[in-house]
């Protein structure tokens, strides 16, 4: 069996290198924001992990859709791997957001649209993985899980546009096509955010790849057990 968790994987090395560069940029290079002070640097973690959690549900949705079309196990494995990693990123998005909210809003949680839709995304991941762990293995489980995965992606555009649609405490979009020109980041802050986002994106891909391989091994174990019990039955007969 090949080593699944390969610490010399080029993706991991690339991610670690970019992460090192991002850390230098975040803590040494980029100027301190005048309104919030040092705590504003949480942005360079919060936005990339939020991006990772949304990327995760896109992959879950896309691969679930492909599974429904092709009925190929590899799409199902990719959906599971992405959901699990997406859950980790989603949890980090919520936690980092809460820790950031405390000093700048004086509360841990406000329950406004942006935060609530992000929490729903977290619940979607939890529901998807709970469904898979409770439902007996087989084609029916994979089909129903794929349907949940496809439906789950509906939340993503709502999260993205929530701050612009319902203007509350969460700042409006600073990146992407719907970002307001007045609220976009300056070039220095934008550069740091880009490097940090790239680092977390490569980390996301590495983690999904690793989880995918583990899932493949789990399927191999099931196959081996099936073959083993079949040969035992043949021996008995």
């Amino acid at each position: 069996m090949n080593k699944i968790l390969d610490l010399l994987d080029p993706l991991l090395i690339l991610s670690a290198t970019l992460m090192g560069v991002a850390l230098y940029l975040i803590f040494i290079w980029v100027p301190t924001e005048t309104n919030q002070g040092a705590v504003q640097r949480i942005l360079y973690f919060h936005v990339p992990v939020a991006w990772g959690s949304m990327l995760g549900i896109f992959v879950v949705s896309g691969s679930s859709f492909m599974y429904l079309l092709k009925k190929n196990e590899k799409w199902d494995r990719l959906a599971v791997a992405s959901a699990e990693v997406g859950l980790i990123f989603g949890g980090m998005m919520l936690l980092s957001g809460m820790i950031w909210a405390r000093p700048v809003w004086a509360v841990w949680w406000t329950g406004e649209a942006k935060l609530t839709t992000a929490l729903i995304l977290f619940f979607i991941y939890v529901a998807y993985l709970m469904f898979r762990s409770y439902f007996p293995p087989g084609a029916q489980r994979q089909r129903l899980a794929a349907i949940i995965g496809v439906i789950g992606a509906i939340d993503t555009p709502i999260i993205y546009f929530a701050a612009n649609l319902w203007s509350q405490a969460h700042p409006p979009l600073i990146t992407g096509p719907a970002a307001d020109a007045e609220s976009t980041l300056g070039s220095d802050l934008g550069t740091v955010l880009l490097v940090s986002t790239l680092a977390f994106t490569f980390l996301f891909i590495f983690m999904v790849q690793t989880r995918y391989k583990i899932r493949k091994s789990e399927d191999d174990v099931v196959e081996l057990k099936r073959a083993s019990s079949a040969s035992a039955m043949t021996g008995v007969n």
Binding site: L5, S96, W100, V107, T110, L119, A127, L224
Partner: protein
């Protein structure tokens, strides 16, 4: 056997559906409560203080960074956490020291010291020093984000590593048992 399995599947599916509906309902309720009652905290400087005949604070006004004036009324449970120029913190509620709050806010107005006010429908719930805006005091939050982020990553990597070892062992055992 098949009927038992099907019943179990239905029960599990029903539980998951109920859990999802509950989670969704809670989230929607939170949003509705939020949009109905919650007002984002206001950061700014004190520009007006109003007292009654006994000198007890009744209303005050804050100007935020855009120049918008926010007026807040007080109730007996309004909480205060304000510092004087020397940095000594005064923590109290309106009911306990009604005139001290007015004095402290006037002091803040004279010093242009920023405060943070949380409120609902124009009634101030808490009036605190905007200490979080100071560069030296919010590093703890930054550290907390780092610690949580990396602890989660490492926990997940450890989980993957453990899973990998179990699988390797299982595959070796099964291959050994089948004589491959």
């Amino acid at each position: 056997m098949s009927n038992v399995t099907n019943t179990a599947i239905r029960v599990v599916a029903l539980r998951i559906a109920l859990a999802m509906i509950l989670a969704f309902a809670v989230s929607i309720s939170l949003t509705q409560i939020s949009s109905a009652e919650h007002t984002p905290p206001v950061n700014g400087i004190v520009v007006g203080v109003e007292t009654d005949d006994d000198g007890a604070l009744t209303r005050f006004a804050v100007s935020d960074s855009t120049g918008t004036i926010h007026t807040f009324t007080i109730f007996k449970g309004t909480e205060y956490g304000l510092e004087n120029q020397a940095g000594d913190r005064w923590v109290s509620i309106q009911e306990a020291e009604p005139s001290e709050a007015a004095r402290r806010l006037r002091d803040h107005r004279e010093r242009f010291a920023p405060i943070t006010v949380t409120s609902e429908n124009g009634t101030a719930f808490s009036v605190v020093e905007r200490e979080e805006g100071k560069l030296e005091t919010n590093l703890g939050y930054l550290f907390a984000v780092f610690a949580v982020t990396w602890a989660l990553f490492f926990a997940y990597v450890l989980y993957l590593g453990r899973k990998q070892r179990v699988l390797q062992h299982e595959i070796a055992r099964l291959k050994g048992a089948s004589g491959k």
